[in-house]
């Protein structure tokens, strides 16, 4: 087995080890913490490149796994392991590279924070856990790292825990993803029950391999659904929670309470992508079909994934239109793009979804880091109404941000164009229905629109932030009242520049002319030929999506860009035109309020009930029991005092009484004693004589 496959565990282990060491480092050793984290990520990145190169050279072979037995119960063994296949290779390269850039960015961004070391500890732990999710060959190991990812996400969202909104957001994130994880766990249990293995690939015995899949497909459950569909749907619950699909999306916008590098790393590039990655990983399970149906017919599981993805894509885009916080716009944009990825997985398979995931990771990280740079430059201001004209003050940020924005919108030739187009192409060709395609197309229009709106508010026009004092939104110690925004230091702008390059160029790895990325994932070789453009409807769809993008940009420009926005308090043009629609969108269709009124209220009642039960029922039991024990103690005391002691005293009295009585035998008269001896002598002699005689 190749060296890199055997030692693939180093890739997640190094960041986790770094995190562990940083955890015991004192807060003032900032340089140590930062260099440990960045160093471990750099080494992991190099190892990831080695793995990528290995797969590149040997890609046509079977997926390489390394399994080992872990836990024995009874006669069965739970096995864990890791896998190196094209999917793993691209993911670890992406995660380590983007992570490395974000770590470097954080050095500058968090330089004023007094909890610098703790931040890097959590970041390193998160990176290690995410890489663990990626390389896991066992659903159990994946789940364990999945939970670790959730934990570190909680720690990072609630990094500024003394802010109540941040603490609440962290709790919300954890609980909502936990709800999804419940379904995930049920899926794992059911899968183990059916196939008795949780390894994906195990030389034929894994649960994603042929024999296990046939077992799952032939087991019909309720409503004629196969076991594979049922398990797939349950596991999708977990993915939906982590990836913010409707209805479990509510935690993502609130998660913006965390520092911006966290938002960039976790809630744009990696953690939320974990859900998409999971579905890509278990795709054979999701797409396993009954033998009677023609091949490539979408299964019920995949249909559900597609619909939910489409709904999420549209939903996110709609809500992003009405937001005023720079990061919230990006958060809802992320929700929308995740919907696209899921839709892509559902209609086109792992290669389509994963391509968009990879490109999205780069340009969304870029956008978040850019937003962080803007916030840093504006001394903590996050409301776009109090920004404006940043283009003049922060040109590098503006340039990078523009690249990212165009990539996100799907502007022709940028990265997002190629990946989103793949998704729309597959959606158009979907055999079940073409509604997802129209939803996706409308979502693309909205994406272009709201991003233009954001750009106009932030970068164009005049700076509106002078009159407004900066709140402690990001706990920066800048005391800049009336300060003009300034460009960020090199440690922050360099990663921006690097990511911008990728945002522009990465798409060229997956054009129809040269679908290298898709072929790589499927283990084939791609050839460069313009004949790819001749495939059905490809050119028409490319033109159509380009038109959509231009239309969205134009509408956005005409509403927000032509007339620069005057003051911070001026109402949004769209809000004036359609107040009801905008307020509904601003409140995200009141879903949060709905949850609050129903589930949360129920939960609160249940908590009160539990408290009462605990205090009066269990507490009552305990009190009764303690009274019982006290009674026993009293009884024991009584017994001891009046029975044992008295008995003992009586015994002693008897002994002294008998002693006194016996002493009366001593009269003091010697002759009496002698008389007694004489009598005794007589008696003894008589006895002896009689005995001798007899």
């Amino acid at each position: 087995m190749a060296w890199i496959v055997q030692n693939l565990w180093l890739v997640p282990a190094l960041p986790i080890l770094a995190g562990g060491v940083i955890a015991v480092t004192k807060q003032r050793h900032r340089a140590v913490a930062a260099s440990l984290a960045i160093g471990s990520m750099a080494i992991s990145f190099l190892l990831a490149l080695c793995a990528f190169a290995h797969v590149l050279l040997h890609g046509t072979e079977a997926k390489e796994v390394f399994n080992f037995p872990w836990l024995q119960f009874g006669t069965e063994w739970l096995k864990l392991g890791w896998i190196l296949d094209p999917l793993t290779a691209v993911m670890i390269v992406m995660v380590t590279f983007v992570g490395l850039l974000i770590f470097i960015f954080s050095v500058g961004y968090m330089s004023d924070d007094k909890n610098f070391t703790r931040f890097f500890c959590f970041l390193a732990l998160f990176a290690g856990a995410m890489l663990g999710v990626v390389i896991a060959n066992s659903l159990l190991l994946l789940f364990m790292c999945w939970e670790l990812v959730g934990l570190t996400s909680y720690l990072l969202i609630g990094f500024w825990f003394d802010k109540p909104s941040a603490a609440a957001a962290a709790k919300k994130a954890f609980i909502v993803t936990r709800i999804g994880d419940l379904g995930f766990f049920l899926g794992i249990a059911w899968l183990y029950f059916e196939t008795h293995t949780l390894l994906f690939y195990d030389g034929g015995a894994g649960c994603l391999e042929h024999s296990a899949l046939t077992t799952l497909v032939t087991h019909a459950t309720i409503y004629g659904l196969t076991a594979s569909t049922g398990i797939g749907l349950l596991i999708f619950c977990g993915a939906a929670g982590k990836s913010g699909q409707v209805p479990l999306h509510v935690w993502l916008p609130d998660a913006m309470e965390g520092p911006t590098p966290v938002s960039a790393l976790i809630h744009a590039a990696t953690m939320v992508a974990a859900g998409v990655f999971l579905i890509a990983r278990i795709y054979p399970l999701m797409s396993a079909n009954i033998a009677s149906l023609p091949p490539l017919t979408p299964t019920v599981a995949l249909q559900v994934v597609t619909w939910i993805g489409a709904i999420t894509a549209l939903f996110g885009a709609l809500v992003a239109v009405a937001q005023y916080d720079i990061k919230r716009i990006l958060a809802y944009s992320t929700v929308s793009q995740l919907g696209y990825m899921m839709m892509g997985l559902g209609v086109g398979g792992p290669s389509v979804g994963m391509f968009h995931l990879i490109t999205h990771a780069f340009f969304k990280a870029l956008l978040f880091l850019g937003a962080g740079s803007v916030i840093h430059g504006c001394s903590g201001e996050q409301d776009i109404r109090h920004m404006g004209g940043i283009r003049k003050f922060m040109p590098i940020t503006f340039a990078a941000y523009t690249c990212g924005m165009l990539a996100l919108c799907g502007f022709p030739l940028f990265a997002g164009f190629w990946s989103k187009d793949e998704i729309l192409h597959s959606a158009f060709a979907w055999s079940i229905s073409s509604i997802p395609f129209y939803m996706g197309a409308f979502g693309a229009l909205l994406t272009a629109f709201y991003m233009t709106r954001q750009m106009c508010y932030v970068f164009i026009g005049t700076y509106r932030g002078h009159a407004h004092a900066s709140h402690d939104q990001e706990a920066h110690s800048h005391h800049a009242h009336g300060h003009d925004p300034h460009e960020s230091p090199l440690v922050m702008t360099a990663p921006l520049a690097i990511l911008a390059v990728f945002a522009v160029l990465l798409g060229f790895l997956g054009t129809p002319a040269w679908p290298w990325f898709q072929s790589f994932l499927e283990g084939e070789h791609a050839t460069f030929s313009f004949a790819g453009f001749a495939a059905a409807n490809t050119v028409q769809l490319m033109l159509a999506s380009s038109l959509i993008v231009f239309l969205g940009l134009f509408v956005g420009w005409s509403i927000y860009g032509r007339k620069p926005i005057e003051s911070a308090t001026a109402p949004d043009a769209l809000a004036v035109a359609q107040p009801f629609a905008m307020s509904t969108l601003a409140h995200a269709f009141y879903i949060d309020a709905l949850y609050g009124a129903t589930i949360l209220r129920l939960n609160a009642w249940f908590a009160i009930l539990s408290d009462v039960a605990d205090r009066f029922v269990w507490g009552g039991f305990v009190k009764a029991f303690s009274f019982f024990i006290l009674g026993l103690a009293w009884l024991d005391n009584f017994f001891d005092k009046y029975v044992v002691n008295a008995g003992f005293d009586a015994g002693c009295d008897t002994v002294s009484l008998s002693g006194r009585s016996l002493s009366l035998l001593q009269r003091g008269r010697v002759q009496g004693y002698l008389r007694t001896i004489g009598v005794a002598l007589i008696v003894i002699v008589i006895l002896l004589l009689w005995g001798a005689k007899a």
Partner: protein, 103 residues
Amino acid sequence: MSQLNAYLLVSALLFSIGLAGALLRRNAILVLIGIELMLNAANLNFIAFWRYGPNPAALTGIMFTIFSITVAAAEAAVGLGIILAVYRHTKSTDISQMNTLKG
């Protein structure tokens, strides 16, 4: 009645007389004398058995008697010394008066 029996009877009588004296007399010295008489009776018993016993050449009777006499003499000396000490304390030799060691 053999000769031996005669001597033994004499010895028994002597013993009883000594015992009676020890039990009945109130003077401490006379009680001591009674005890001496009992010892003498035992001595006579020994000599009689030595004379009429199976192995007179072993001298056992004689030896025992000699030692018995020695011991009796020592005991008489010490006993009389005790009586004198008690007399000095209580100014009386009446043993019925000496009953302070009672319960």
